[in-house]
Amino acid sequence: MEKLAKRIIAIVIIAGLGVGGGLGAWFLFLAPGAGEYSWSSKDCPGAPSGISSDQIIKFGITGDVGEITGDGAWEGCYLAAKEINEAGGIKINDTTYYIGVTREDSDEANPNLVTSRGIAAAERLVYNKKVQFGIGGFRSEALLAYQEVFMDNEIIFINTGAATDVFCENVRSWYTRYKYFWRSMPINSSSLGEQIFNYLFRLIYVLNATYSGEIANVGIIYEDLTWTEDLVTGIEYYFGPYGPLPAYRNMLTANIPYDVTLTAADMLTHVNTLMAADCDIVIPIISAQGGLMLMQHYATLQPNFLVVGIDVQSQLDTFWTQTNGDCIYEIQMQSIHVTNKTPTTIPFWNAFRAEWGHDPLYTASGSYDALNFIVWAINETQSLQAYPTLTQKMETATKANILANPELFPSSVGGLGAYWPTTHDLVAGYPFGFTLFCQWQANATKVIMPSYNSVYIDSQLSNIGTLILPPWLITDWTT
C-alpha cells in the first residue's frame, strides 16, 4: 500500500516537473510573441495614459545600470522624452506619437568586461523590445562589439560616451554598413587635446604677463592607462625641448605616471616630487580617485603651483563635499556647466536638476541632445525610416548649414550640434563642441574660467568668473 502511494507521489512529481517545466518554457520562450516587450504609456514619461504601442517611438538606451555614466545616458534621454511628451508628443502625418524610452544593462563600466553582456543587452533592445533607435555606449571595447547588432538591423545608434576615433572612421570607410552610427558626445580625443593646449598656452601667457614671467615650469601627473597616452605625448612634445612654440620649450620638469591603485601615501610622494621640481603649473590627467588625493595634499601642503587639467570626478557637484572643500582653486575641464553655450543649455541644466536632483554628467547632456536630434529629423521628414530619409536629414546638420540658418536646426545643449557628414562625428570647436574650463571657488561654487578667447569667446558666455589664485601662490609669485 505504502509502496503504491509512493509510486503515485512519484508519478505526480514527475508529471508536475515535466508539464510545469514544459509549460514554463513555452510561455517564457516559445509561445508566439513570448519574450517580447509590450510598450505602454509607462515607458513614455509625461505621456497620457492608455496610449497604444503603435503610437510610441521606441528608444533603447544602453549603458551600465547603477553607474554614473550609464545612469547619465538614461537620465538625459528620460528628460528629453518627458519634455517632448509633455508638450504633446510629435505629429507624423497627423498621427500623434509619443517618445518611449527603455534601458538595458550592458555592464560595460565593469573593469572586468564581459563583452557578451553588452551583446545580450543590445539584442534584448533590438529583438525583444523592438526599439527603433539606440542611444548610449560608454566603453569603447564593449560598444565596438554590440554596435554591430544595431548596424545589422539598420537602426540609428547615437553614441554618447566613447571618444575613440574608430567608430567614426568606420562610417567614413564603410559607409554602407556604418551609416547608422553617430556620436553626439564626447568630442574626439585629438580635438580635446587641441583645446587643452590652447587653453594652457594662453593661461601661461597671461599669468606670465601679470607676474613677470613667474611661470617657468610645468609638471604632469597622470594615470598610466591607454586613454592618457596621446594627451601625455602631446604635453611632452609641446613643453619639451622641440616644441613648436619657442616660448614654451623646456618647461616640462616633472613627468609622473602612476598606477591607478595608488595610495594616499604614494600621492604624497608624487606631490613632493612636483614641489621639488619647482613646478608652477601641474596638469593632472585623472579619471579615478587620484584627483581626490591630489587635492587633499594640495590643500594641506599648499605647494607653489596651480592645478589645471582633467579630473573627471571633479566634474561632479559632489566633489566639493567629498574633498571637504580641499578641491578649491582646482581648474578642470568639463563639457557642460551653467552657461549659455546655446540658448537651451541653462533651461536644460535647471530642468535636469529639478528632475534628478544633481548636475548632469556629459553623457546626460549628450544623450539629451541625441534624442532631440533624432526627434527633430523625424519631425522634419515626417518619417521613421532610418535610411535614407532620416540619415540624409541628419547629415544636413553640418557646420556651414547651421551657421547659415541656425533656426532650421535643433538647439542642442552642449554647443551648436553640428556633425561631419562623412564621419557622423560631432564637430569640435567653438561654438559647436567645446570644453569649458571651470574652477572650484569658495562656498562650493564652480565658476567658468575665461579662456582668453583661445577656446571660446569669453564675452559670449554667461557666468564667466575670474581666476582666483591661492593666496600663498600670489605671495610666492609677487615676491
Binding site: G35, V114, S116, Y127, L225
Partner: protein, 351 residues
C-alpha cells in the same frame, strides 16, 4: 600512448556499447536533454526567441566547452589553472586577426587559432610544470595577467591592436539557428571526446597524477609527459571555445578575451556542475548563464512601495546563490541532481 588496436576494438564494439549506455538512467537522461536541445530551435520562429534566447544557449554551449577544457586540466589532471583565459583569448585573437586581416575562411581560422592555442598550452605548461598546487594556480594567473597587460598597454599595444582590439568580425554563421547547431555539434563532440579521454587508460593516468604525483612516478609513469599532454589537450578545447567566442561576439579586446573573470567563469561553471565529471561543466555553464540572464531579465520588481532592482544587485545576488549552492553541494550539483532524479524514477517504476 594511444594503442591503435584498442581504439579499433572499441570502435567495433561501439554500437553495442552505445546501445547499453542509452538504456542506463544517465544515458537516457542525456539523450533526452540532447533531444530537447535539438528540437528547441524548431519550436518557435519568434525573432525574439532566436536572437535573444537561442543566442544565450549558444553562449552557454561555448562556455560549456571552455569549462570542460578547464575540468580536464584541473578536475581530471589536478593541474590547477587560474589563467585559462590565456588559451581562450589567444585563440580568439588569432582567429579574429586571420579573418579580418588575412581574409582566411572562418573554419581555417578556427583550426589555426586552436592549433596556436595548443602551442601556447605547451609553451605555458612547460615552464610552469615544476610548480604545484596553489603555486601553479598563481603561476597561471600571473601568466594570464601578463598577457592581458601585454595586449592592453605599452608600446606593444599598438602592434597588438591596443585596448580596442579587433572588431566587426563576421558571425560564425548566417543565422543564429545555424550558429546554434554548429555549436551544438561541437559541444557534443567535445564532450564525447573529453568523457572518453577521462574514462580511458590515459585518463586513469591523468587522475593518478592528480591524486598522488609521487605515487604515479613510483608506478613508472613519466608524469611530466602526461602533464604536458593534459595542458595541450585542455588548451585545444579552450582554444576552440575562444575562437567560437570571438565570432559569437564579433570582436576581440584584451579585457573581454583575456580578463581574469573569464578564467573564473570556467572555474565556477565546472565546480558548480561537479569537478572531474566533465559533463558537470555543461550543466554548470547552462545554469550559470541562465541564472545570470534571468536576474538581469527580472530587472525591477515592485512589492508595494518597495522596488527591488534585481538588475542592480544581480552580481551580489548571483554570488549569494553560488555560495549557497557550493555550501550545500560542495561536489557540484550534477551528482546530487542525478541521484534525486534517479530516486524519483525508481519510485515511478516501483523499484
Amino acid at each position: 600512448m594511444l594503442n591503435l588496436k584498442i581504439v579499433k576494438e572499441k570502435m567495433n564494439e561501439f554500437p553495442s556499447y552505445l546501445k547499453s549506455w542509452v538504456k542506463t538512467f544517465t544515458g537516457s537522461l542525456t539523450i533526452f536533454c540532447l533531444l530537447i536541445l535539438f528540437v528547441m530551435p524548431f519550436l518557435s520562429a519568434n525573432q525574439s526567441f532566436t536572437h535573444v534566447f537561442l543566442r544565450q544557449f549558444s553562449l552557454a554551449m561555448i562556455f560549456a566547452i571552455f569549462a570542460a577544457s578547464w575540468d580536464l586540466l584541473t578536475g581530471i589532471s589536478g593541474q590547477i589553472s587560474f589563467g585559462h583565459a590565456i588559451f581562450f583569448g589567444i585563440s580568439g585573437y588569432i582567429c579574429a586577426y586571420l579573418i579580418k586581416y588575412q581574409s582566411f575562411p572562418i573554419w581555417i581560422s578556427i583550426i589555426i587559432s586552436t592549433v596556436v592555442a595548443v602551442f601556447f598550452g605547451l609553451a605555458i605548461g612547460f615552464p610552469l610544470l615544476r610548480l604545484k598546487g596553489p603555486y601553479l594556480a598563481l603561476g597561471t594567473l600571473a601568466m594570464s595577467l601578463i598577457l592581458l597587460k601585454l595586449f592592453l598597454m605599452g608600446s606593444l599595444a599598438d602592434w597588438l591592436f591596443g585596448s580596442e582590439g579587433i572588431s566587426a568580425l563576421p558571425g560564425l554563421a548566417a543565422t543564429p539557428v545555424i550558429e546554434y547547431f554548429i555549436l551544438f555539434i561541437f559541444m557534443i563532440l567535445t564532450f564525447v571526446i573529453l568523457i572518453q579521454i577521462s574514462k580511458s587508460k590515459f585518463g586513469t593516468i591523468l587522475k593518478s597524477i592528480r591524486d598522488d604525483e609521487v605515487g604515479s612516478d613510483a608506478s613508472g609513469i613519466n608524469t611530466t609527459k602526461y602533464k604536458i599532454y593534459a595542458f595541450m589537450l585542455s588548451s585545444f578545447f579552450a582554444g576552440l571555445a575562444g575562437g567560437f567566442y570571438a565570432l559569437y561576439i564579433g570582436a576581440v579586446n584584451p579585457t573581454g578575451n583575456f580578463g581574469t573573470v573569464l578564467s573564473f567563469f570556467a572555474i565556477l561553471m565546472a565546480s558548480l556542475g561537479g569537478l572531474a565529471t566533465i559533463s558537470g561543466a555543461a550543466l554548470g555553464a547552462f545554469f550559470f548563464i541562465f541564472l545570470e540572464y534571468a536576474l538581469i531579465e527580472i530587472g525591477v520588481v515592485e512589492i508595494g512601495n518597495l522596488a527591488i532592482d534585481f538588475g542592480l544587485y544581480k552580481f551580489a545576488i548571483f554570488a549569494v546563490i553560488l555560495i549557497v549552492i557550493i555550501r550545500f553541494a560542495e561536489h557540484g550539483i550534477l551528482k546530487p541532481l542525478l541521484e534525486r532524479l534517479k530516486d524519483l524514477w525508481d519510485l515511478l517504476l516501483g523499484r
